[in-house]
Symmetry: D2
Subunit: 344 residues, 4 copies
């Protein structure tokens, strides 16, 4: 199948947790998991050694995972957990309660799957102008917020707009919110990532821009992202993996008389630890069964790209989900930033 040019089919993910899984890297990674209110929290520190391996910058990555934000109860739980973890991150970064904040909502307000950032800006409590006027009460912090748009709307590199504004506003720290690309269908709209490593606007969807980071701006930059889109290559390669996992599960369990009464259409086979053997894979999927994950992705990429079908897609309920996610993130940030805001 010819020589592999890895750059063509780089995994499009901004999630450190996904990059770690895919790379199976272990050195230079400190990681802990916790479950709170049914929400799974993973805190990862990438130390120097881990950087190259994962194509991720060193720093702290906190991921919270959940099932369904359109469920009212679950949504409230996610908001509470997100706010708590966000507060801990502020404290880890040495940010004080009077430090001033600029929140930047990246993305295109006119394109629903890309509108998370602007939607969060719409729901953030801004106070900087009140501080400037001297009319703000105790328990609030100076917060400003902006949606700079995307290059296709403005004609301007988004990082240029941000650098220009940061120079005038001079915040003590920055929060950047963006919609991301996922490299797994299982995480779309089900994961929020926070990191202190900043962000490359547009990096998740393959059009890299200049980064927004502490290195370039000399102040802490917290990036908050949710994967809202996925490409067809990922959908197909995930499905091939799921197929192998299901077969492995069935082999283990189906002939076990204890499982006779379980409806197979309800089984969550993804927890299956055992894998198919090389021979079983080859039997099931021929040459494709014998390829590594990267090779499978490359192959699918080379099938779909020439005919224009490597679509970047989003679940059809995207309007409702962006609404709920922006409410969670803006609400969680409002509580974390202002002592006097309690109605999460």
């Amino acid at each position: 199948m010819g020589q592999i040019d890895m750059s063509k089919y780089a995994i499009r993910t901004d999630l450190a947790i996904e990059a770690i899984e895919v790379s199976k890297a272990k050195d230079g990674i400190k990681s802990e998991e916790e479950n709170v209110l049914g929400v799974k929290i993973t805190r990862v520190d990438l130390l120097d050694d881990g950087i190259k391996l994962l194509n991720k910058k060193k720093g702290r990555y906190i991921t919270i995972e959940f099932e369904d934000v359109t469920d009212t109860n679950e949504k409230e739980n996610v908001k509470e957990v997100f706010s708590m973890e966000f507060k801990k991150l502020l404290s880890y970064l040495g940010i004080n309660e009077n430090d001033t904040c600029l929140l930047i909502g990246l993305g295109n307000q006119k394109s629903t799957p890309d509108a998370l950032g602007p939607a969060v800006v719409d729901n953030i409590i801004v106070t900087k102008h009140l501080f400037d006027l001297g009319t703000v009460s105790d328990g609030f912090r100076s917060v400003s917020a902006i949606s700079p748009g995307v290059m296709g709307q403005t004609g301007i590199e988004t990082s240029e707009i941000i650098f220009g504004i940061v120079k005038r506003v001079k915040p003590d720290f920055i929060i950047v919110v963006d919609a991301l690309a996922s490299s797994s269908i299982s995480r779309i709209n089900k994961t929020i990532q926070m990191t202190d490593t900043g962000i490359h606007p547009g990096s998740g969807v393959g059009n890299a821009r200049k980064e927004i980071s502490r290195e370039l701006l000399d102040i802490p930059v917290i990036a908050i992202g949710v994967p809202t889109v996925v490409d067809a290559v990922t959908i197909v390669s995930d499905t091939i993996n799921f197929l192998q996992k299901q077969m492995a599960y069935n082999k283990e369990n189906i002939n076990n008389p204890a499982n006779r009464l379980i409806d197979p259409s309800c089984v969550d086979y993804t927890k299956e630890e055992k894998d198919l053997s090389f021979e079983e894979k080859s039997n099931l999927m021929g040459i494709i069964g014998t390829l590594g994950d990267d090779e499978v992705r490359q192959l699918i990429y080379e099938v779909l790209s020439p005919v224009g079908y490597n679509l970047m897609v989003t679940p059809k309920e995207v309007d409702f989900i962006i609404e709920k996610l922006s409410d969670i993130i803006a609400g969680g940030i409002n509580v974390a930033l202002h002592k006097n805001v309690t109605d999460i």
Copy 2:
């Protein structure tokens, strides 16, 4: 792999053209193709015999296919071809220039991929109230329009709302516009189907409702649909087919010295007529390579469904595309319905 329960993974398509391709049916089908302004037109008559085979009602199905409605020139061409074909269909159905029309835009205005119908209603020239007042000039027809919403918004069966209104308004014929599900990634947002067989609101996405049709309403019902969503099963099974086609193409062409200078990433292999042999398929894809299309779809369905990953998705540019498509359809209908409207 157990016995096949076909009902579980029925192809989710409202496009007759797709159903015909998939079924490979030929009897009872009269079909012709034409290319106008770079737009492909397929006119199909399903006669009695073809009905059961395709799970489609007998009647006329006109499909127009195009590449990219965000291209300004192509968009204008599509609008012109659509309007012409729509006029021919009116004439085929014996609809006269003074017959009154009710246009119904199905779907949920708040959900972008489902908002095509309401967006068309927003751009339709309505005149019935002017006829009622006697203040309308020559060259116009009496047209009314309504977006009844979806059951999740109203709590009411959409067909109930429509029947209630039709009974009061008493139009001579009805046009129904809806977003559909596609059974091929190659047709999403690239096809408009018109048919005189009516519509089942919500049928494309698996939640069948009562139909809107001539049989039930006693007047012609023209349904206009565009596939805007596709499920993950379809993305995966399409990709498996594309993989086999590409391999067949490569086998034929790659060792041909004449093709050495062609960049493989630009080749459109989908026109390849030759297929892989059974042995080649089995070699490439193992057991899966030996399954029929239906069996592959069933298998993928059974992999993705238990874990909740048979997502229904839409391309991430959905906002812009719905805007263009609704402009094409509303503009084309306005010209076709009113003699005095010429600015297509």
Copy 3:
């Protein structure tokens, strides 16, 4: 100044409370006032005799008045009072907790000052489809909802659409929500009226349509309205009244040494009971000061209409206010209709 043709400048109001004030009628009117949580409630029963005088149908009119729904605390109080009064009205009309409800949101979603009805529909909990499916839990009532649009969008008389739907859905009672015209600048966006007398779609803005009422539909029809627009004639005639009131107040108070320390720009002179004498009015405002309210309105109408300046206007904050008002009304109705909804 010629003979007065009263029909030309009829007060454009749907508020019974305004009609009563203006007409100064007393016979055939039973009225009581209450203050709850800072919100003023007025309950009026128009008995037969009062009808003609006020150009209002006999029935119950409940008005709640408040200052500023963009104030978070006041908004919550208004919602609670509204919900309570709405519940009392249901009970007064003999509506039981299992009676099925159809809510109709009149108005044009695309025109902000007219979008109150559709915005309420967007926030109503609908359940009829769940009852039809048998999947609804205790403590809920069957509720459906629809936004039929306006005649300029649909080409259809709105009452025709509603009658058609009511015939199919067969609710036990109807709630109609609409934006109204006000005949006082002091009530715009500061008053909610509920009545059991039904509604004339579009009546408030001078383009009368067929009414939606118990008489025509044989079931209770509760109309809920908020004045969101006012015409220039009203702004001018209100100002002339305010000017006279202020002068009367100043005459009484300005020379009173006790009032020397009051900043005149903060005085609420509108409570002033005393009026100017005829001579004082004539002195202050010449011929105009000697005209009755109706004559003043007529005069202003005849000045502004020929040159097209009798604008119908809305406060510039209309987007934010419609959002708050629709939240109050939908939230209040949800709690009143469903026993199990408590988060008002």
Copy 4:
């Protein structure tokens, strides 16, 4: 009536043409009028002497006046005239066809009467990013565009955001688009003003911000504005003036037998040149009839302000009008800026 504090009731206008009319100033003003396609164009140069008198900066002010942009034909005419005048202004300012442009849309996208600027940005053809990539064809100019939001959304002085961006983008000239306040009900949504004197964001509605001007940015700044809101004081004082004009007109014309057949409700009395005598005014309107325009405005301001009724209002059709106006301005600018854009 006490001593007059002029600052309290300064005329809220950004239109030079209105300021000139009200002030009746003549010295230091060069002015010419023209009528093209039914659109009235007024070009005014304020020379040094005129500045203080009018509270306007010296510079060129071009005003185009029209009746109804919801009329399709008139809208096209206005667009053509606007584009022509805008091109002349570019040329007058010595701006060349390759000079780069930054367009700034002031105002709040979420507040319809204030959304003109952002709506123009949405419809502007931006090209700067294509120039940066080297992929732009001949006949285009480098254009970028941004909607910085308002201080209530961002917490940041809008001028700070703009200065920051200008410093990075370094355009050769700037266009600023904003919704304005009018000091006459006759100009709302019926006037576009262009000027080379820059803009004070928010100045029209009384909350002055730092200005965006050539003096501060060292490049030409063209400000384009449309009055979309008016306060109640203006509505009332305009009406009082109209009343006097109508009376003066009637005195001249009503007893003239030649006018017997004219329907008084259709007469445009505003062209009447003759005024009422002092005695006639006093007779008609008492003390108020004897006050100067400024005194009348002050009086009304002092009546409406203490009770909170000096509402800033907008015509109720605001949604449709902002849509048409933004199409006119963006379309006109696109044609004026890019040689290759002709479809106005």
